[in-house]
Symmetry: C2
Subunit: 181 residues, 2 copies
């Protein structure tokens, strides 16, 4: 069942405003705190999304269209934001993400993809053969996976403060479940 | 460790704009779809949050201040939105939620709570003794638990479409974990 490209874009174009509403000017208690050693803060997550806009989703889509399965995608650097976000404010990162996402969706629309194009195949360095439709569905689902993670990161400082309600709050029980994309 | 009331309010006041940015005018593929039998759609979640504004958080806070432990909270109806949302659009629900939340936060500020007030005790019908600070922390964490749930509900229609990336996407592996509050 191939995705409807307009429906995927409807989700993708919302993410910058969602993150802005959630994170801009939120106290640093929330935005710089992570979930313990080797986990990410909200600041780290936005940097990761920026790096994806630059190097992952649209560049991989274009590689599929140009090279098919003959040239694998570049591996994605999950730690790039540690250098690339350095010295920036969260507000700057939110603006950078919004600008890059808008540019990329404009370029995606400009590709004028038809449903048949979504069946085109490329090569992921770890997963092997994937289709353009799978890549674009993953772009949208990847936003949601990080929104899922952000809600958990923001809830983390309150895990004691909620007292006996903790057992009723799903976000406090979430084990994370993510890996590299 | 008591919560900082201003920091809790900083989160609480953001939620209506976050949900609006995420859900308003999103195709019904996303907003009316649930995760299978007896689960909620995004539309259901917003209705549930509205019912909480009307009957749960601030009314319970006022009961603590007025009656302490001597009068238990009214039990919360987790299914009220099935009748209360009937015939309404998601846009209407988003506006109703934003209006009620703004009113409630204005009233909360008007209570002029001091840190010592957060230690005041009330009685939850199932959990027993709880403090005002725990109730207010739970109000904020409850928003996050439903943002966590919403990201999962929206990802659900794409669990096949993402192909082999599914195993990398934490939101696809989330088991829910929620119960009544």
């Amino acid at each position: 069942m191939p995705i409807d490209l307009e429906e995927a874009i409807a989700l993708l174009q919302r993410t910058p405003a969602v993150l802005d509403a959630l994170l801009r000017n939120l106290p640093e208690t929330w935005t710089l705190r992570n979930e313990g050693e080797k986990t990410w803060s909200a600041f780290d997550v936005v940097g990761h999304l920026i790096h994806g806009e630059r190097t992952d989703w649209l560049p991989r889509a274009k590689r599929i269209l140009e090279f098919g399965e003959t040239k694998a995608f570049e591996p994605f650097d999950r730690f790039a934001q540690e250098r690339e976000s350095r010295g920036k404010s969260l507000g700057q990162l939110l603006e950078e993400f919004a600008r890059l996402r808008a540019q990329n969706l404009k370029e995606l629309r400009g590709l004028n993809l038809r449903p048949a194009d979504l069946e085109k195949r490329g090569r992921h360095p770890a997963l092997g053969v994937v289709t353009l439709g799978e890549l674009l569905a993953t772009w949208a689902a990847h936003d949601l996976t990080h929104l899922h993670q952000l809600s958990r990161i923001l809830a983390y400082p309150y895990r004691e403060a909620v007292g006996p309600w903790r057992k009723f709050l799903g976000v406090m029980a979430c084990a994370g479940h993510s890996a590299a994309t």
